[in-house]
């Protein structure tokens, strides 16, 4: 407790202008930055998978299974930073038991469960069922038992059942696209619907969140595809990689346009809150917004991939640059979340001053914990790839 008070006294000494006395503490920290970040990665990875399956971009086939498993690995972790940030985490289940229908946050549990249970798990199951049956016959030990159980006793291997799996899988993917939109557009709405906060309260917020989610998810799968190929020592399908980069480019343009529109709209309307927002963007957020989000995360990737649309250097150079661009985009979107969540709390609702954010290293809200929540889904993904490698599948949907 004393440590917490010390932290607040330190923040008090850094107050600039006037803030309401209850606003010294930032109530949402690093964990709430991670929550939309991780959820966005899930939605984006899923959209990439559906590009291949529903929109028939066949060249993306090598990344289909990878994208789905990436989405699953991150989705399993998505709620953990959220729950761990609650002051009473053991009461978290009340959101599902007695949700308040007027609350934008209350529906998250249901959207999450719908997405996890109905969309992702079912789609993966229908995609893998036949392989589970075949693998259960040739594997030993833990894997054999796992495959046996996960088939849920449906051991048909004939063509008719494979076709049925494919049909249902396709249907679920179609259902999954609006669900992925819902999942992340909804996360944007949690912020966009707070009329008390002029930095958050914009009708564009859900759309911006959605497109930035797609951008980050596609960048993540692009990197994972390259890393997995290097580890497996197989040749990267350059046509596939170029196509992913192309989609990344297009969606990044939409994302950048929307975010610019939002800022231009603020600038032009110059409402009551504009004076403080101007100082926020030019001061407290100039490194995370102007440098990290806009320059590193958006402008450089746009210029580089845009350039590749006219001139393609050698494969080796492209691979390295795609990798770096992917990382840049992931860093940029992380800071986009940061600028929304932290940025929105740095200025007072009195619009007359600023508090400061002092992140800590250890503890539930610290950098260490944030690293755990980002590394954990990668470990889960490694486990999933070991357990159900998409490249070992004998069957593949049409």
């Amino acid at each position: 407790m004393e440590e917490h008070y010390q932290h607040l006294y330190h923040a008090l000494s850094q107050v600039d202008g006037y803030i309401y006395p209850n606003e010294i503490d930032l109530h949402w920290g690093l964990m709430i930055v991670l929550y939309p970040y991780i959820t966005g990665l899930v939605a984006g990875a899923f959209i990439l998978a559906s590009l291949e399956r529903v929109f028939n971009v066949k060249v993306l086939k090598p990344t289909y299974g990878l994208a789905l498993l990436t989405a699953l690995a991150f989705l399993l972790v998505a709620t953990l930073p959220l729950v761990s940030h609650l002051q009473h985490p053991f009461r978290a289940y009340e959101i599902l038991m007695t949700p308040n229908p007027t609350s934008a946050m209350a529906i998250f549990g249901f959207v999450y469960l719908w997405y996890l249970m109905v969309v992702l798990l079912l789609e993966i199951w229908f995609d893998y069922r036949l392989d589970f049956v075949l693998w259960s016959r040739e594997s030993k030990g833990f894997k054999k038992y796992f495959y046996k159980i996960i088939t849920l006793g449906i051991n048909d291997t004939d063509e008719k059942s494979a076709k049925l799996d494919d049909k249902i899988g396709y249907f679920i993917t179609v259902l999954g696209i609006p669900s992925a939109f819902l999942l992340h557009g909804y996360v944007g709405f949690i912020f966009g619907s707070i009329k008390a906060n002029p930095w958050w309260s914009t009708v564009l917020m859900p759309v911006i969140f959605l497109f930035s989610a797609m951008v980050s998810g596609i960048a993540l799968v692009m990197i994972i595809y390259m890393v997995v190929s290097w580890v497996r020592k197989v040749k990267i399908d350059m046509e596939c990689l170029d196509t992913i980069a192309k989609y990344l480019f297009y969606i990044l343009i939409v994302d950048f346009t929307l975010e610019s529109l939002d800022q231009i709209h603020r600038l032009y309307e110059a409402e009551e809150s504009f004076d403080i927002i101007k100082v926020l963007v030019g001061g407290k957020l100039n490194i995370t917004l102007i440098f990290m989000q806009v320059l590193i995360g958006t402008v450089i990737p746009l210029l580089v991939i845009g350039f590749f649309q006219f001139y393609k250097p050698t494969e080796k150079i492209r691979k390295i640059i795609y990798f770096i661009v992917g990382l840049f985009v992931l860093i940029g979107i992380f800071f986009m979340r940061w600028n929304v969540v932290i940025g929105g709390q740095l200025f007072s609702k009195s619009l007359s001053g600023f508090t400061s954010f002092n992140a800590v290293f250890s503890g539930m809200e610290g950098y260490l914990m944030a690293a755990v929540w980002l590394i954990l889904p990668c470990l889960i993904l490694v486990f999933l790839l070991w357990l159900m490698p998409p490249w070992k599948k004998t069957t593949m949907h049409n």
Binding site: P21, N22, H27, Q87, N100, S103, M105, F108, I194, S352
Partner: protein, 257 residues
């Protein structure tokens, strides 16, 4: 025979349509009525419950900070300068138009004027507290319904139910809520609910030496509060946010945020 079948069919369709239509209509009406309940408390109806509100007469406030201090004592608010159910702000408008707002320790220790006298255009103090909005954004935002409006119009928090997500704190435009470091739930002014339910005044009203705070029943035409509202041109804070606040300020200057 044919006609009878047709008749049965027609009846079947009619019944189905009634059931489907009725269900749809009910689901349409239901959210409207639940919404109406929130708005209703602002209406002058014949409810037997009182409808609590507060008037703040800024002409009378001397910025002594006794209200903020009494509130902390009465409600066991942690004695640190980060947690307040009510506080006092000092506004100083300088001759050049610059506005300086201060509230050191919520005004509990009084104010020291930092601007030299000759530079001051005007200066005044403004007590702040939860506005007990009838369209409270915090109540709308709470994911589990732990914060609610009582039948007598007071916005309260169920301490045994709050999950501590801080969404209500983000949703409050007035900075009236804080996360209590001891109970680890959202905390805020209750109009001293434990006192008003026993016909006592809230602690801040009780101690105010100049009667700058007027507490009362908005439904009681003879109450001091209703008289205050009749005699003075009052305003609420941030009316553009449409929160329907029930704390009314007399002589509210446009500098007040």
């Amino acid at each position: 025979m044919d006609r009878r079948i047709n008749k049965n069919r027609r009846k079947f369709f009619q019944t189905s349509a009634t059931i489907v239509g009725g269900t749809l209509l009910y689901s349409l009406i239901k959210p409207l009525t639940s919404n109406a309940q929130v708005i209703e408390v602002n209406k002058e109806d014949n409810s037997i419950n009182p409808l609590w509100g507060m008037g703040v007469d800024l002409k009378k406030c001397i910025g002594c900070g006794k209200c903020a201090s009494a509130c902390k004592t009465e409600n066991k608010v942690p004695d640190k300068p980060f947690y307040f159910r009510t506080w006092v702000e000092q506004y100083t408008v300088k001759n050049d138009g610059e506005v300086i707002i201060e509230s050191p320790n919520g005004g509990i220790d009084g104010f020291v004027q930092s601007v030299p006298n000759e530079d001051i255009f005007k200066s005044f103090t403004v007590p702040k507290l939860c506005n007990h909005c009838s369209k409270a954004p915090c109540v709308q935002a709470c994911p589990v319904g732990a914060t609610f409006i009582s039948p007598d119009g007071v916005v309260l928090v169920d301490e045994t139910y709050c999950i501590g997500c801080s969404y209500c704190i983000q949703a409050c435009p007035y900075g009236a809520r804080f996360m209590n470091p001891i109970t680890k739930v959202a905390d805020k002014c209750t109009f001293c609910y434990h006192r008003i339910s026993q016909d006592l005044q809230p602690a801040c009203v009780e101690v105010c030496p100049t009667d700058a705070r007027i507490f009362g029943d908005l439904r009681d035409k003879k109450s001091k509060l209703v008289k205050f509202l009749q005699k003075n041109p009052t305003q609420t804070l941030k009316p553009h946010l449409n929160t329907n606040s029930r704390v009314f300020y007399n002589e509210l200057s446009s500098e007040v945020k």
